[in-house]
Symmetry: C2
Subunit: 315 residues, 2 copies
């Protein structure tokens, strides 16, 4: 049996691997797609040439559908879009920008378009722009995040009430239990980041993966709210940001503290002290590095088992 | 059929009304208990004599079980405990303090004790202290809140993995859908605050109820993190706190800004500009003032209906 999202993407399971900077290259995307989910190449940390290479390698590594995630505020956005067309990408997830800008262009080329949002206003804007589905991402999610700080538990019912298109839940989901919870809220699928960031096939640096699986509750916090809110894993840099914010640091001071290429330094190059480490709150529940297929199969098996258990509850 | 929590409290539905300052007096507690849930008198905003009066009135208004919530940091705590014993209260919810301090005392009197926590450390401490169950309260909850900022979606699985005693989920729950989501995560019951704060029987000022049901997403934020984190509804006071925090206000400056009796001023006396308005993030989903029994019955009916819908999903 198919649901709206598995039919839309022609995939086996309603599980989507988030397009993540420095984590989700062709290896991870192909592994997830081969396992029956939807793998996504995260273009946010790739120069155009690198993205092209990842798309071509991904196509060789899987004959299943996969997607590319594009932050619309990306400086080389025109070039990125041209590559997606030239490489005949069939599914594009857009984020961090106005969905009205590129949706028509992509839809006219026959591409399925999904936009990532964190509030009702942008959910409606995305629907009006003609996207096929939206990802609704809660406060607990890793990386950049909504200013409303609405958690997944509160966000999904709001978004389901606002739009008619399918809704993919994101933020705080790394188990079948959590996946089932979002389905109870009306989600049609889940997008999972952190759990796949520590997959064997993730291009995150081994130091970063080790730090994620050894992290505990309270170790991630939403920081940089005066710039763009981002969930950071505790380290020397995050502590410096926390201290600066407690002292009332200005937008300019925060931007200076952040500097350039700090996410790459931490997540890709493995500098656990000075790097910017973006990960979800659910990292506290992760404790093992496994192949992406194992992660996906465990979540799906757990989802079905927990669904049975919930059905068995009688009142 | 009974579950662990309905058996523990001898109630019909696994729905508990949160003990809330300035909202949950005897009228609300009795209404919820009469409807088959567990009503709670919130002692946190009551002088000892007032609490005694509310307990006596609640007993006259219902022959069903009800409880009292006691913040353990309450200045008159000895006197409050003496009243609970003298008035033969059978169920006590403790919060905001060390569960080791009073649990033995209450348990020796045959009282069922539940402690409110927001992290694993205190969940384990509460279990070791001998409490009968815990309330695990997520980031989206109203009022005072955990420093880890763990959302209900992430918190419930963590706490279920850590303790053997029953877990009552709190934070972000105002519908049967959300209740079902927490049951998917392993919760044995829910504690609901905001939805009952706007019940007809709530002692919250009508201005406050109106402000809650007209609020939108993003209107509550966790503030005062340097003091004790508290979720505040947007108004002139909350804006002043936000501004002070953005400028790096010290603990002392925040305490001075807060002053005294500001929650009473807002929540009970209806000053919507200067009052401290404590409410959950889920207030954005509330849009009507209704009798407590109607709220409870709608949530329970919705829970059962959504459970059926979830069961019907086939993959």
């Amino acid at each position: 049996m198919k649901n709206k999202i598995t039919s839309l993407f022609n995939i086996k399971y309603p599980i989507i691997q988030a397009g993540m900077v420095w984590c989700s290259g062709w290896r991870l995307a192909a592994a997830v797609s081969n396992a029956g989910g939807l793998g996504i190449i995260g273009a946010g940390s790739m120069y155009p040439d690198v993205l092209r290479e990842h798309i071509q390698k991904c196509r060789k590594a899987t004959d299943k559908p996969f997607a590319v995630n594009v932050p619309l505020l990306y400086p080389n956005i025109q070039e990125i879009m041209a590559i997606l067309i030239a490489e005949e990408i069939k599914i594009v997830f857009t984020s961090a920008g106005n969905p009205a800008t590129w949706t028509n262009f992509l839809k006219e080329k026959g591409i399925t378009v999904v936009h990532v949002i964190a509030n009702t206003k942008f959910a409606l804007k995305a629907e009006q722009s003609g996207v096929d589905a939206i990802v609704a991402e809660g406060f607990e999610a890793g990386g950049h995040n909504g200013r409303e700080e609405t958690t997944t538990l509160c966000l999904i019912p709001m978004i389901k009430a606002a739009v008619k298109i399918p809704v993919i839940a994101a933020g705080g989901i790394a188990s079948g239990k959590a996946m089932l919870a979002t389905f109870a809220l009306g989600a049609d699928a889940v997008q999972i980041g952190s759990a796949f960031a520590v997959a064997e096939e993730s291009s995150a640096h081994p130091n970063f993966k080790e730090k994620i699986i050894s992290s505990a509750e309270g170790d991630t916090k939403l920081r940089m709210k005066k710039l763009v809110p981002v969930r950071l894993l505790k380290n020397e840099f995050a502590d410096a940001v926390a201290q600066a914010e407690a002292n009332g640091a200005s937008t300019e001071e925060l931007a200076k503290l952040l500097g350039r290429a700090r996410a790459k330094l931490g997540m890709f190059e493995g500098n656990m002290q000075e790097g910017e480490l973006e990960i979800g709150q659910v990292s506290a529940l992760l404790d093992e590095i496994k192949p992406a297929a194992t992660i996906l199969n465990e979540i799906w098996g757990d989802f079905l088992a927990e669904k049975e258990k919930l059905q068995a509850l009688k009142f």
